[in-house]
Amino acid sequence: MPRSRRSRRTLTVVILVVVSLSLISLDLNGRTHSLTSGIKSVANDVYAPLRQGVLDIISPIGNFFAGAFDYGSVQSQNEQLEKTLGQLRASQAEQGFEENQLRELTKLQNLPFLNSLPTVTAQTVDENSSNFTATITLDKGRADGVDVGYPVVGAGGLVGQVIQSFHHTCVVQLVTDGQSKVGVTFGATNQYTGIVDGQGPGNSMTADLVLPHTPLHKGEVMYTSGLQAASYPAGIPVATVQSFHTASGASQETIKVDAAANLSQLAYVDVVQWAPSTT
């Protein structure tokens, strides 16, 4: 191979590597992140309708085959959903009184109650687009009042937090993502605190910073703490205790928890228009 050609080839690769590293630096730097975020936002505005168009074409074909091969389970799932809906309607009527009391109490403590906060209902258009992150993409963005940092709830609890917001779409980091950390309270009077840590897609989450021998029981629900500078408003179910033990000499309890929200049923979610306090 001629030497000049080899040199040109090496130079091309070096330039591409340098450009890639520069883009990564721009993206990770807090001051220049808005530049790459803006590029992504413009690209997503173009890409989202195209992707939806392709899905509109192929979905009926996929649904036809899925329906034909899976009719029995769809029917039983529908019956189960109708049953659950009936139970929820009944319990909603019963809970009205307790909710009013709780709203009054949380107002007294100056804590935002989830039901008093405005929400934007969004449809999930994409789940786990990367193998390396636990995220979903919603069909609502800045133009619909959805901004970075807003909590997302649905399917029985906290789903995650908006990490990228584009014009008409946004990306939500799920509570199971390895980067997710949620401050929680639990116990009869919410006297205990801890942090629920995501361990990556498909892995059980853990509850950390819980003192050894803290009284717990399997199935106990942990709620967002809403303490000062918290990333979430108080009272959202985050996780349920799956197993726990205290290793001898350990400075904290080892607790495995499951997400309170059913993260396999995220067709529709609510984005809570609540930004974390910056003070």
Partner: protein, 178 residues
């Protein structure tokens, strides 16, 4: 690369991106889905050498970076290095060898995903190494072997007319398979 090849490669990248984000992303097994992105630099490098592999890998990676929640530029960096490595390592191999494409697809895709995760962790995205690598390697590796032939066919169409001898030889070898 000629202007026509550039346009065709851009179209192939767009098609693969759309297929990945609409169909392939739903083929999830144990939390992992196939990754067609890496097949673009691998097939380009096999057809037209390391320089084309690196260029295609960079632009394909950058296109995917626009729609992925991972750090912007990371896929471009890995795609570029992957294309260059595959082109360089297979330079001495007979391009008519039937095992070349499946082996390059399997080894290249798995290596690219590993590099992607490690670089992500180095850049502060610790969660990228906290995934189930066994299922990732199995799903991505096997799917890459399955999908390398259609992607290679698309890439050959895009790079047709390029002067490199490898593309011509490979085209004949491929036509026997199809």
């Amino acid at each position: 690369m000629t202007a026509r090849s550039i346009l065709r490669v851009a179209l192939v990248i767009f098609i693969v991106l759309m297929v990945q984000q609409t169909v392939i992303v739903a083929l999830r097994i144990d939390g992992a889905h196939p990754d067609l992105l890496w097949l673009l630099p691998i097939t380009a490098a096999l057809l037209d050498g390391p320089e084309t592999g690196a260029i295609v890998g960079f632009w394909a990676g950058l296109s995917f970076d626009l729609v992925l929640p991972t750090p912007f530029g990371l896929s471009a960096l890995v795609g570029c290095l992957l294309g260059y490595a595959v082109g360089s390592l297979t330079a001495a191999v007979d391009p008519r060898a039937t095992w070349l494409k499946p082996v390059a697809a399997l080894a290249g895709s798995v290596a690219a995903d590993m590099l992607f995760a490690v670089l992500g962790a180095i850049l502060g995205q610790q969660q990228m190494v906290e995934i189930n690598f066994v299922s990732l390697v199995l799903v991505v590796g096997i799917a890459s072997v399955v999908f390398v032939l259609p992607v290679s066919r698309l890439m050959r169409w895009a790079l047709v007319g390029e002067s490199n001898r490898r593309s011509l030889v490979s085209a004949q070898a491929d036509s026997r398979l199809w």
